[in-house]
């Protein structure tokens, strides 16, 4: 008994040692690259810091300043509009196309590739450059509208329409969500549709009462991820607006304002406070999502 016990513990010790060696890079990473900077940024958010002289403790001043900063409020409003318009729109398009592609259609792999490609390219500077031209005054969109005799605005140059071009760019990258939906649709057992059909349910009723409930966990997952990601969008807004968030701050996404505060004006303390507000916002939105998910997300295992 004692003998096996000792041998077990020797084996366990060996396992423990191997694990810690394997985990060593991660532990170092968490301390030095993730959690350490996280705490440092919390500290910096209570200071006035410009990289050149030592941080100076200012208490809640940065947070008080955020309440007064109208440009920050504008950035929040722009980001919220961008997120709450583009994410549902993108998910709706993704779901609609996943439905179209689901039922054993010919050429599925081809369509899937074509729709997926923009998701890979959408975050690049090159596509941002392209978007500037597509939505420019002489761009592709206006050339197309011109065929019908409509004279389009200079989408990028006009504060009323500039954000639309960014929203459309986000919707354009619906492919990855579509692939997730396609995988989810495949998981729905065929017998549920058969049972519904036996009960005389039409195609539309089957969609409403079988497909949608069974997909809600995936819709939910996509939505949470979509909101978190879109609150952090940077590259597209930076490139399309030429780094300014203009015209008239109409494309000033939160991250863009944070960037200009931190690396343009070297307000590192204020930028840290802004980053923490972002943490809170993303956290609260995720919590709200989870809270309301109980009402509409359906888990087939009964939880």
């Amino acid at each position: 008994m004692t003998k096996t016990g000792r041998r077990m513990s020797a084996a366990a010790r060996q396992e423990e040692r191997a694990a810690w060696m394997l985990m060593a890079p991660w532990f170092l990473g968490v301390v030095a690259v993730t959690l350490g900077p996280l705490l440092a940024s919390l500290y910096l958010s209570f200071t006035d810091y410009n990289l050149l002289s030592a941080p100076e403790w200012v208490g809640l001043e940065n947070y008080a300043e955020m309440l007064r900063d109208t440009r920050l409020h504008k950035a929040l409003a722009v980001t919220a509009t961008y997120t709450f318009v583009s994410v549902p729109l993108m998910l709706a398009v993704a779901l609609a196309l996943a439905m179209l592609l689901n039922r054993g259609i010919k050429g599925l792999a081809f369509y899937r590739s074509v729709y997926y490609l923009p998701s890979l390219l959408g975050g690049s500077v090159a596509v941002g450059v392209l978007w500037r031209q597509v939505f420019g005054i002489e761009g592709l969109v206006n050339q197309f509208l011109g065929l019908f005799g409509i004279e389009g605005p200079g989408w990028i140059a006009n504060p009323d329409t500039a954000l639309i071009s960014l929203i459309l760019l986000h919707v354009w990258t619906f492919g990855s969500s579509m692939v997730i939906f396609l995988a989810g649709l495949r998981q729905i057992p065929e017998h549920l549709y058969e049972a519904a059909a036996l009960d005389g349910a039409s195609k539309r009723e089957q969609f409403r009462h079988v497909t949608v409930p069974m997909l809600t966990p995936i819709i939910f997952f996509n939505m949470v991820l979509g909101i978190i990601n879109s609150f952090q969008t940077f590259t597209q807004a930076f490139v399309v607006s030429g780094g300014t968030g203009g015209p008239s701050d109409s494309t000033l996404l939160y991250s863009l304002y944070l960037y200009s505060e931190a690396f343009g004006r070297l307000h590192m303390g204020y930028a840290s406070a802004m980053a923490w507000l972002l943490v809170v916002i993303v956290g609260v939105l995720t919590a709200i999502n989870f809270y309301f998910s109980k009402r509409w997300v359906f888990y087939s295992d009964g939880n």
Partner: protein, 284 residues
């Protein structure tokens, strides 16, 4: 269940309508990309007057012009991007697989807490750690080197990939490890000789996404690489926008295409793994 709608008239029409819709959507989506490619071969004067995809007048000067339009030839920026991508790729493959193996297969104190922390780091917005990271890296003189972009990857900081590989390892039969252990193999041996060789799908997915994300990454490269000779392709391209100020859209498009080609090749080669990777973990 028998497939319906095989030969009936309405079924055929419905399928036709479906395909027409799918093709229409696909065309609208891909048209801007094709238009960019076509524009890179058109004389500047024609780009905004002729929306068609087939240039009537081919102009091949945009590629050499764009290549040498900035302070350094474009090859310098592409090479810088390649170095950063290669470093990130090796770092992620090594560190994330090691971490995932310990999480998925070994029992050790603190595993559950560590795993929870790892999941939590998935949710942390990048901006909240970027400022202190920048401060730290600039104090040790790493600004204008590739180190801030590569070293963190060797520390398994891309929790997405750790998670992906944990899921993959958990799906592998435990008998594999047990049998090897009975044969006297140690943990490292099991990891390198047994698990890694059969984990090619997970490793490939990690490699592909690391490649695409790092190649496309802009924010970190923008703040860390300010010297022209250190800049990567996206940063250079962005400077190109300012430098030309609309003088030559053709060259700008040509260089945009050059930066997209690597991603496009990876997309063609790695499609199978991309689709599987997204479907199982919800990556972008």
């Amino acid at each position: 269940m028998p497939r319906r709608g095989g030969g009936t008239g309405t079924g055929r029409i419905r399928r036709l309508v479906k395909h027409v819709m799918l093709i229409l959507v696909g065309t609208v989506m891909i048209y801007p990309l094709l238009w960019m490619v076509a524009s890179a071969f058109k004389p500047d004067a024609l780009i905004f007057r002729d929306p068609s995809l087939l240039p009537t007048d081919i102009d091949l000067s945009h590629f050499p012009n764009g290549w040498s339009a900035l302070a350094h030839p474009f090859s310098v920026y592409l090479l810088n991007s390649a170095i950063v991508v290669l470093g990130a790729l090796i770092g992620n493959l090594v560190s994330c697989s090691m971490t995932a193996y310990a999480f998925a297969r070994l029992r050790w104190r603190g595993r559950k807490v560590s795993f929870a922390i790892m999941l939590l780091t998935l949710m942390v917005p990048i901006y909240v750690i970027l400022v202190p990271q920048y401060v730290a890296f600039s104090q040790i003189g790493w600004v204008n080197t590739f180190l801030p972009l590569i070293v963190p990857k060797f520390l398994a900081t891309d929790a997405f990939f750790v998670f992906l590989m944990v899921q993959f390892f958990r799906g592998l039969p435990r008998e594999l490890d047990e049998a090897a252990k009975i044969d006297g193999a140690g943990y490292w041996r099991i990891f390198f000789r047994i698990l890694l060789p059969i984990s090619v799908p997970a490793l490939a997915t990690t490699a592909i996404f690391t490649f695409v994300w790092t190649w496309n990454d802009f924010f970190a490269q923008l703040i860390y690489l300010t010297k022209p000779e250190m800049q990567t392709a996206p940063v250079a391209l962005r400077n190109f926008v300012d430098a030309t100020a609309g003088a030559s859209w053709g060259s700008l498009f040509a260089m945009s295409i050059v930066t997209l080609i690597p991603v496009f090749i990876v997309f063609l080669v790695g499609q199978k793994y991309l689709v599987k990777g997204i479907a199982t973990t919800g990556l972008k």
